[in-house]
């Protein structure tokens, strides 16, 4: 299983980076809102201060003007001759007026103002301080004034007039202070309320903005990111699947290659075998061609020779037994020569099989007769079941048995035992021809059935080749069997099952 290479484009990484980006954006947005809030709030504050200041200043002037007039009137009403006291009172009044004027100016001009107690004070901070100061001043001054008034009461100023005046002034000052107080308080409350309102609006807007932002993000996520993610996951799954399939295909291919390899080997082995067989067949065929043409050439003279023998034996009178014997010898040799030609011919030109159901016992009898075994050779036949029927070409099967018998007889060198056994195997008949002669040497075993191979001094070396050829054309097999006892043993197997028509000629 191959590991997927570290890839920044996997779905997990993508999600992560996207989330990070959203978080970043959110943070920025919030920060932006926050700063906007602060900025606006400050600006409003400042603005509020401004209007507050203006308001306050306006009121104060009004008050100053009003009370200034009153004071003057009061003073005038007093008609005090004592110029020192009057001067003093005027001084106080004008000083108060100046103070107010300068303060007012300062309010209007903005920036800062010089105060006695706190020195230079900047306007935003001035509000409370100024009011307090003013109140203080006003109180102080009016106290002074009151004091002066009280004094004036005691000097020789018409008492009634003086009292009502002082009372009125007292009343006025108290009222003024209270009014100023009230006004300032109102203004303060008002501005604070406004400020609060602004702040509330801002906060709401910020929250709303954040919610909107989140909603948009959610929307974006749902519509864009999720499907993207989905398709990426699907793609990933498909890639994994493809990889699996590729693996599978690769494995299958390797298996196939392996199969092909072993198949090729097998085919090659078979080809080798077939080639070997073909070579054998070609050799046989070429021998056959030569044999064929030789046969004719040989058989004609043999025929004439035999005819001549026949003639002499039959028609020439007074035949001497010696002569007859020698003529017989000649005949015999002609037969031998003919036999050799027959062997050659049989091997090369296979007669088509005429399969019949036959009695194997009869075939063996006939083969024993023809093989002309020596007297010292005893042949024992065991058939199981008896009679033993099988399907084959009788003539050619007899030829095979005859051949095996004469090979066995030669191995026994004129004395010994040959056993022919026939029994049923599984779907075949098994025939064994055994002798207790000299056996087959180990080095000859593989070559026994080769054409032209013989261990005998005389002989074509074709006997066993022909046997195998005939048996194989019947669909059977013939082989030398390993046995513990001395001697050779050949086992022939012939297939049993055949079609119902026994006369259909089989073979090549």
């Amino acid at each position: 299983m191959t590991a997927s290479p570290p890839n920044s484009h996997t779905p997990e990484n993508f999600k992560r980076s996207l989330t990070l980006r959203f978080a970043g954006l959110l943070f920025l947005f919030v920060a932006l809102l926050g700063s906007t809030y602060v900025a606006v709030s400050t600006a409003v504050n400042a603005k509020e201060y401004d209007s507050l200041v203006v308001n306050l200043a306006g009121r104060q002037r009004m008050l100053i003007q009003k009370y200034g007039r009153e004071i003057n009137q009061a003073l005038v009403g007093l008609a005090v001759s004592d110029s020192e006291m009057v001067l003093e009172m005027k001084k106080h009044a004008s000083r108060t007026a100046e103070l107010y004027e300068s303060t007012h100016k300062a309010f209007l001009s903005g920036g800062w103002v010089e105060t006695e107690e706190q020195g230079r004070v900047e306007i935003p901070a001035i509000q409370e301080a100024v009011i307090i100061m003013h109140l203080g001043h006003v109180e102080a001054e009016w106290n002074e004034l009151r004091g002066d008034m009280v004094q004036a009461q005691h000097s020789d100023i018409p008492a009634l007039k003086r009292n009502s005046l002082v009372a009125r002034i007292h009343e006025q000052t108290t009222k003024t202070v209270a009014e100023m107080d009230h006004a300032v308080t109102l203004l303060q409350e008002d501005s604070e309320a406004k400020l609060r309102r602004v702040r509330a609006y801002l906060a709401t807007a910020c929250i709303f903005g954040i919610i909107l932002f989140l909603a948009i993000m959610a929307f974006v996520r749902a519509r864009i990111v999720a499907p993207l993610d989905h398709s990426m996951t699907a793609l990933q799954a498909e890639i994994t699947e493809r990889k699996h399939a590729e693996e599978g295909a690769r494995t299958a291919q390797e298996q196939l290659l392996e199969q092909q390899r072993s198949e090729t080997e097998r085919v090659q082995a078979e080809l080798e075998k077939a080639r070997g067989q073909l070579v054998t067949q070609i050799r046989l065929a070429s021998i056959g061609q030569v044999a064929g043409s030789i046969a004719h050439d040989l058989r004609n003279p043999l025929g004439s020779a035999r005819n001549a023998i026949f003639y002499i034996k039959r028609y020439v009178p007074g035949a001497d037994p010696d002569l007859i014997e020698h003529l017989d010898i000649i005949n015999e040799e002609i037969n031998t020569a003919d036999g050799i030609i027959s062997d050659l011919m049989n091997m090369t030109r296979s007669k088509p099989l005429v399969r019949q159901e036959l009695d194997f016992g009869e075939v063996v009898q006939s083969a024993v007769q023809r093989a002309k075994l020596a007297d010292g050779v005893c042949c024992r036949v065991t058939l199981d079941p008896d009679p033993f029927t099988l399907e084959a070409d009788p003539g050619q099967l007899r030829q095979v048995v005859q051949n095996l018998l004469s090979n066995a007889a030669q191995a026994l060198n004129g004395e010994g035992q040959i056993t022919v056994e026939a029994k049923r195997g599984k779907d075949c008949s098994e025939i064994e021809v055994r002798d207790n002669g000299c056996g087959v040497a180990a080095e000859h075993r593989d070559r026994l059935f080769e054409p032209l191979f013989t261990t005998k001094a005389k002989g074509t070396g074709l006997g066993l080749t022909i046997c195998r050829e005939i048996i194989e054309r019947h669909g059977g097999s013939i082989e030398l069997v390993d046995r513990d006892e001395p001697g050779a043993s050949f086992r022939v197997r012939l297939p049993c099952q055949r079609t119902t028509n026994p006369l259909r000629p089989g073979g090549s």
């Binding site: 058989r299 025929g303 026994p502």
Partner: protein, 261 residues
């Protein structure tokens, strides 16, 4: 040695073979048997001789320079329909054999020759040869006696295999085939015989049982000549034979060529 009959003295034999010694030895033997011999060294010579005079039987070698034996046989038969020819060949399995037997050769013998057989065949050349393939002894005895008495040359065998071997070499004028035989049915034997010699004339012998009669009918359907039922009516059979051999003697009827069944 078969006794010389009247007929034999007039039997004229032509020996056609390209080997001088074969001609010499065969001629010597057959002359001693009392036949009149002529010889030819080539197929053309044989045809020539036959156009001038009639021979009862020709011993023809198959492989000769010039035209081969079968061709010579054909040419001779144009003018002499009923000519009887015994083919000889050094090849035991010769492609010519089928052609020769189809043309109507009496026999196809392999060299070196079995001289006894040659003598016998030549002697019987004017006779009608009958092969009886039957294992029922009674029937065999009956047929053998009756037919031989009637002048036919009868050969008997109970074994279908031996019958096939004989037929491979010799053409019989007529074959009696029993429907019930050891190791194969009469029908199968007939079909095998037909493969070797398509023009064989066969008469099936069948017993009472239906199954055998069915076999016999089937054989006839495959162009066996006819069938006869046991117990055999000899007169009927002899009559049949006369008709068949009558046809033969005239040389007119070659058994209609059977289609490959």
């Amino acid at each position: 040695m078969p006794a010389k009959t009247q007929a034999q003295q007039t039997i004229k034999v032509l020996i056609a073979d390209d080997e001088k010694n074969m001609r010499t030895t065969l001629a010597s033997i057959l002359k001693r048997e009392g036949y009149q011999i002529s010889t030819a060294a080539t197929g053309e010579e044989a045809v020539d001789l036959c156009s001038k005079e009639g021979f009862d039987v020709i011993l023809m070698d198959v492989r000769m320079p010039g035209i081969d034996g079968v061709e010579a046989f054909r040419q001779i038969r144009k003018h002499r329909e009923g000519v009887r020819v015994i083919m000889m060949s050094a090849y035991s399995v010769d492609e010519m054999k089928e052609a020769a037997l189809e043309e109507g050769a009496i026999a196809f013998l392999s060299k070196p020759l079995d001289v006894e057989k040659v003598i016998k065949l030549v002697g019987e050349v004017k006779d009608t040869t009958i092969l009886v393939v039957e294992d029922d002894e009674q029937t065999v005895k009956l047929l053998d006696t009756e037919l031989s008495d009637a002048g036919y040359k009868v050969t008997v065998t109970p074994s279908p295999h031996d019958a096939l071997e004989l037929i491979e070499q010799i053409r019989f004028d007529l074959i009696f085939i029993a429907t019930k035989l050891p190791s194969m049915t009469g029908l199968d034997l007939y079909l095998a015989i037909k493969k070797i010699n398509p023009t064989a004339v066969a008469i099936m012998i069948t017993g009472m049982e239906e199954e055998f009669e069915a076999i016999a009918r089937e054989a006839v359907r495959c162009t066996a000549y006819t069938f006869v039922k046991k117990p055999l009516d000899i007169d009927h059979i002899l009559g049949l034979l006369e008709r068949i051999t009558g046809q033969r003697a005239s040389g007119a009827v070659k058994k209609p060529r059977p289609d490959t069944a």
